[in-house]
Amino acid sequence: MSAPLTDLIAIRDLSREQVDGILSDAREMLPIARRERASVPTLRGRIVCNLFLEDSTRTRLSFDLAAKRLSADVVNFTASGTSVNKGESLLDTAQTLMALGVDLVVLRTSSAGAPVQLAREVEIPVLNAGDGWHQHPTQALLDALTMLQHRDTLEGARVTIVGDVLHSRVARSEVELMRLLGAHVTLVAPPTLLPPDVSSWGVTVTSDIDAVLPDTDVLYVLRVQRERMHRAFFPSIREYAQVWGIDAARMRRLPADALLMHPGPVNRGVELTSGAMEDPRSVITEQVTNGIAVRMACLYRLLSAAPRTEVTS
């Protein structure tokens, strides 16, 4: 039995046992997530608040569905661009949530570390749905679940992550989780889009995508925002696609049993061409469905460890 989960903020806070527990629960919840089985009353009477201070329709929908498949009540608090973002203290937000009788808060924010700060202020579990460039733990967990549907173990697996690592919360969670599960990680990116001192992450770093593809089991492509070129991170979208993008020709260099993954949404023609996405080795749509199951598992784990917030019943 692994230690109970009180918050889920960064992968580095998790033990191997906790990860295995979440993935195991997620596998059990997959039929419910896929709507092959009816929703279950596991979290009936519990209130989950989706506190989304940054636009993210896809992630919010996924958390929304995950909570509802477990029969939790969901309240959405979307405040992009309002005073909450601009500097209302986290203390005020926390006090509001507690006064509303919320049992768990799912926080999405552009401010790295805000979930850590919020967790200090509230007694209820905080589930990080993405904070700035910092972490997006449920994304990494759903990615691991997807990979493990295609291979028995990630021990020794060669995972290549391509793209804008610097600005990517997905990459940070992914690297931490892949290393926890025993995979070898290679980062491929323009040096301008690599975090400083990235060698301290225990990964291999290269600028030569073509050289690593034949030795890759999982090719994980990160989203690149078009506006980065305006800050001189790279010369142009065209050059990015040519030098760092994945197209059908590069897919041919990938082993036959490898996987192609992307956290979505894809900038078609930038980091991935449509041709590459249509490759049978692409599991990008599986990632989306698995996301619901993983988020169900995380909600379940966090709320089964947390005392019930007593309101009127």
Partner: protein
């Protein structure tokens, strides 16, 4: 006629190299006798017990934010002066980034007058280099230098003078009055959105990094420009090992440069940011162990002239915002000397006399400190600090004299504490208590 006897302390005066146990007798604001037996001739004197304590010149802070006028919610001249007295300071230099900006004699004189009314610490005037901290037009340096406040130190504080032409002209113009130009060493193009030191820790935490190059590029530019102009440059809050080397090299080359370091940059690493508690957010940012070691060595060998606090009060609500929205800055006045004693003196980096020097003669070599910084001799003004080097205490943010509580050292045990502070012959701090009456005439 009022007499004060500081009895039985160990006098540590870096300006004369004096290290001896003696009484100090003060009359009407001046030291009138020093020696082992002056007590006998002073039977009616008010006595401050200094046995087992250090008696040093009153400390001088070259870099202070008192927030008045304009930011009184976090600090004002009264609360900031009390914090200074509690930390052993008799003179502090309030930075010009007030609202309105201290860029005219009227604002400077308002601040100086308020300081005199409070009477707990002398204020050393600072004006901005450019009007309104705007980085374009020069403040009236000549007028300010010749005003009643006699301003001899100009700084735009945290706003770097990015325009090399304006910086060059500021240095050239300032040289006419032999006043000091102090520019924040940061190339703003390299620090857009920066939140903490750039390095392994910022990479993991996903916070945009503040590269050391941003500090060193600007510092190198300023040293070159100051050399060319023959002007006096003071480098505020040096934080990187590379910056230390630049200053060391410039001093050898004859550049008229002085430098300061803060207590927090001498003691805190960037890994402190990992909990995202914005009390650790500061500009320039906390760096790494390697930088700390270089700063300590430079403070010991005199490459860095002074410890300066950059005491920067911010209200708790401001500091409880998400990290990226929280303001930069840390309290410093009430912990600086005790922290340096604990970490650097007891840690074997500085001897006691050198530590005292970096808070007294060091600052006095940067600018005119007006009777502060020593010497402790007969006839000198009685601005003194009595420090008990063995008293252990735990920093409690709720018990500081500042209005704000953003100390990064909350909960830390320190060894050594200021016991008495004497300003112009009167105790502003007595046995750890601030003098309640406002007495300064």
């Amino acid at each position: 006629m009022s007499e004060l006897l500081i009895a039985g302390g160990r006098i540590l005066d870096a300006s004369t190299g004096t290290d001896t146990v003696a009484d100090v007798l003060v009359r009407d604001g001046l030291i009138v006798a020093i020696g082992p037996d002056v007590a006998s001739g002073a039977s009616g004197a008010d006595v401050l017990d200094a046995r087992d304590c250090w008696v040093t010149p009153g400390l001088i802070d070259l870099h202070t934010h008192l927030r008045e006028p304009g930011g009184e919610g976090a600090e004002d001249i009264a609360t900031g002066s009390a914090a200074a007295a509690a930390g052993g300071y008799t003179a502090v230099a309030p930075m010009a980034n007030t609202d309105p900006v201290a860029d005219t004699a009227v604002v400077i004189e308002l601040i100086m007058r308020r300081g005199r009314e409070v009477g707990l610490v002398d204020l050393l005037p600072v004006a901005s280099i450019t009007r309104g901290l705007g980085g374009a037009e020069l403040s009236p340096m000549g007028e300010l230098a010749r005003s009643e406040a006699r301003v001899d130190f100009f700084s735009d504080d945290g706003v770097p003078l990015g325009d090399s032409l304006v910086m060059r002209r500021a240095l050239q113009y300032a040289s006419a009055f032999d006043v000091v130009i102090c520019n924040h060493s940061e190339d703003p193009a390299l620090t857009a959105d920066a939140q903490m030191n750039e390095g392994a820790t910022s990479s993991v935490l996903g916070l945009p990094g503040w590269p050391r190059e941003a500090e060193e590029v600007m510092l190198a530019r300023d040293l070159i420009l100051a050399h060319g102009a023959g002007a006096r440059l003071h480098v505020p809050h040096l934080t990187t090992a590379g910056g230390v080397e630049l200053v060391r090299h410039a001093k050898r080359a004859g550049v008229r440069v002085t430098a300061e370091v803060t207590p927090h940059h001498l003691t805190l690493e960037d890994v402190e940011v990992a909990a995202y508690d914005a009390v650790m957010k500061v500009n320039p940012p906390l760096r790494t162990r390697r930088d700390i070691d270089a700063l300590r060595a430079a403070l010991a060998d005199g490459t860095i002239d002074a410890v300066a606090t950059d005491h920067a009060p911010h209200g708790r609500e401001a500091k409880r915002q998400p990290w990226e929205h929280a303001p930069c800055g840390m309290l410093g006045l009430e912990t600086a000397f005790a922290l340096v004693h604990t970490e650097l003196v007891l840690g074997g980096v500085l001897d006691a006399m050198t530590a005292v020097a970096r808070f007294t003669t060091g600052p006095a070599g940067v600018r005119n400190t007006r009777g502060h910084g020593g010497p402790i001799t007969v006839g000198a003004p009685a601005n003194l600090h009595v420090f008990d080097p063995s008293q252990r205490w735990t920093v409690d943010r709720a018990r500081l004299h500042s209005r704000a509580d953003n100390t990064p050292f909350h909960g830390r045990e320190l060894v050594g504490r200021t016991r008495h502070t004497i300003l112009h012959g009167r105790p502003t701090l007595r046995d750890g208590e601030i003098a309640s009456e406002v007495t300064h005439g």
